[in-house]
């Protein structure tokens, strides 16, 4: 009888060990995209509690920063379009706007969060992308010539004014990164050491997945599989700007949501730009913001922009399938497809 019990015990523990219950996983739909949270090595109750706190925070930010449904941002935009000043008694918004302005300068205005009018003109201020005509070129030209910029926004004693009526704030390339940094704060505050947060492809890793680093797959822009995998060291984040998630097709031509603030047209030479950002206080924001200038800049300027922004890890896939990759990225990445070496240029 003893032997029986022992064997049954072994059988049960064998079956339990087969199911991987060290990782807690939850998904949700916020910011118009899928959010995934994975937490390693916490009790299910604790992991669930912390995940829910993060989702609550994301929902709060979604409502706070929404570019076209009523939010503080749309209130500000309404005031700006009427050349009125508006009082903002919200320190978080003020610091977000200042930081967005700082990043606009840093990226030589290739990340420009004040071109909401252009984005709307192309039909991207909508949950359904069903525009089937190119916007009126005169309208685009007028907007470009008025040079919308965060520089025209002044905030003094909580009063915001803009001397450019065409400025409309859209934090689409910033909010998800900011949310990642907020998620990191919540995880640290709640003593969660190992987690992976994915907001619509923008990922931040905290700690590890057990003994191993968190491993991330990089989506192939034109095929339904990953093109490469990469290990995210503790605290690192990864972000991609791509033309394959939000785009419209007009006359068999693809127009992505990544609009070049200098031309007013979607950038069409690039399929994707992926960057890795080392741990820092605002690494989430950087992983979101800094992929935009690499995606939008002219081919020959891309590498210089990466250098000026101190981005040591980048992978850029061009429309002719040629690949620009930094040396550090090339050393770290593991290709999951056979890539023709002729197509790769290492910088």
């Amino acid at each position: 009888m003893r032997l029986n019990n022992l064997l049954i015990y072994f059988l049960i523990s064998f079956l339990i060990s087969c199911s991987d219950n060290k990782i807690y996983k939850q998904e949700n739909y916020i910011f118009g995209t899928i959010i995934g949270i994975k937490i390693y090595g916490e009790s299910k109750i604790n992991a669930e509690k912390v995940s829910n706190k993060i989702f609550d925070e994301f929902q709060r930010l979604h409502e706070l920063l929404h570019p076209w449904e009523k939010s503080i941002i749309t209130d500000i935009n309404n005031a700006i379009s009427k050349s009125k000043s508006i009082s903002i008694n919200n320190n978080e918004i003020i610091s977000i706007l200042r930081s967005a302005k700082y990043f606009e300068t840093q990226t030589q205005s290739l990340f420009n969060p004040s071109i909401g009018k252009l984005i709307d003109l192309w039909g991207f201020h909508s949950n359904d992308l069903n525009r089937d005509k190119i916007p009126n070129q005169n309208k685009i030209q007028k907007l470009i010539l008025s040079k919308p910029s965060m520089q025209s926004i002044k905030i003094k004693d909580e009063i915001l004014t803009s001397n450019n009526k065409n400025v409309q704030i859209d934090l689409g390339g910033y909010a998800k990164g900011y949310a990642l940094d907020q998620a990191k704060k919540i995880l640290v505050k709640n003593n969660v050491k190992n987690a992976l947060i994915n907001i619509g492809g923008n990922i931040l890793a905290l700690g590890k997945n057990g003994e191993k680093a968190w491993r991330v797959g990089i989506q192939n822009p034109r095929k339904p599989n990953v093109i490469a995998t990469i290990d995210l060291e503790p605290g690192w984040s990864i972000g991609t700007s791509g033309d394959y998630q939000r785009y419209i097709i007009i006359d068999d031509k693809r127009y992505s949501h990544l609009i070049n603030p200098n031309t007013g047209f979607p950038e069409n030479r690039t399929q994707s730009a992926t960057i890795l950002i080392p741990p820092s206080k605002n690494s989430g924001i950087k992983s979101d913001v800094f992929s935009k200038p690499l995606f939008i800049a002219k081919t020959k300027n891309k590498i210089n922009i990466a250098k000026s922004l101190n981005i040591n890890y980048f992978l850029i896939i061009m429309n002719d399938n040629s690949i620009f990759i930094s040396k550090s990225m090339n050393d770290k990445i593991k290709w999951e497809e056979n890539i023709d070496k002729k197509n790769i240029t290492i910088f």
Binding site: F14, Y29, I218, T229
Partner: protein
């Protein structure tokens, strides 16, 4: 009836149990290692963030799942899949229509049911896109 079972179980000695359990373990191990899923894509169905079932996408079948609000119906049709009915109010899940590519996901938050398409091998924890 119960007496009969008890009598029968008395006939099985500890040595027999040893053999029975040994074979059970062998079957489980060999099933896990040898039963490689055939090539193709699979549908993972999650309820309350826990995996409920995995189906091959290469079939024509509909499945009804009891979520927290009621019955959700999912249709698999030779390589693609969609929500066909759901008790949620906004029906976003149904409006998503068919999905067929690896890593595509549809979530129905009110009924706490989500589906995603996975390939046969998955060597990473998350996808950057």
């Amino acid at each position: 009836m119960i007496k009969k079972i008890l009598q029968f179980s008395k006939l099985i000695k500890s040595g027999d149990w040893f053999v029975i359990i040994l074979f059970c373990i062998l079957i489980i191990i060999s099933a896990k290692t040898l039963w490689n899923l055939p090539q193709g894509k699979y549908l993972e169905i999650y309820k309350n963030n826990e995996i409920l079932a995995i189906y091959s996408l290469n079939q024509q079948i509909s499945k009804t799942i009891n979520g927290i609000k009621g019955k959700t119906e999912i249709i698999i049709n030779n390589g693609r899949v969609r929500f066909s009915s759901s008790p949620c109010s906004k029906k976003y899940c149904i409006h998503q229509g068919w999905i067929s590519k690896t890593n595509q996901t549809i979530i129905c938050i009110p009924n706490k049911i989500s589906i995603s398409i996975v390939g046969t091998k998955k060597t990473y924890d998350s996808i950057n896109y």
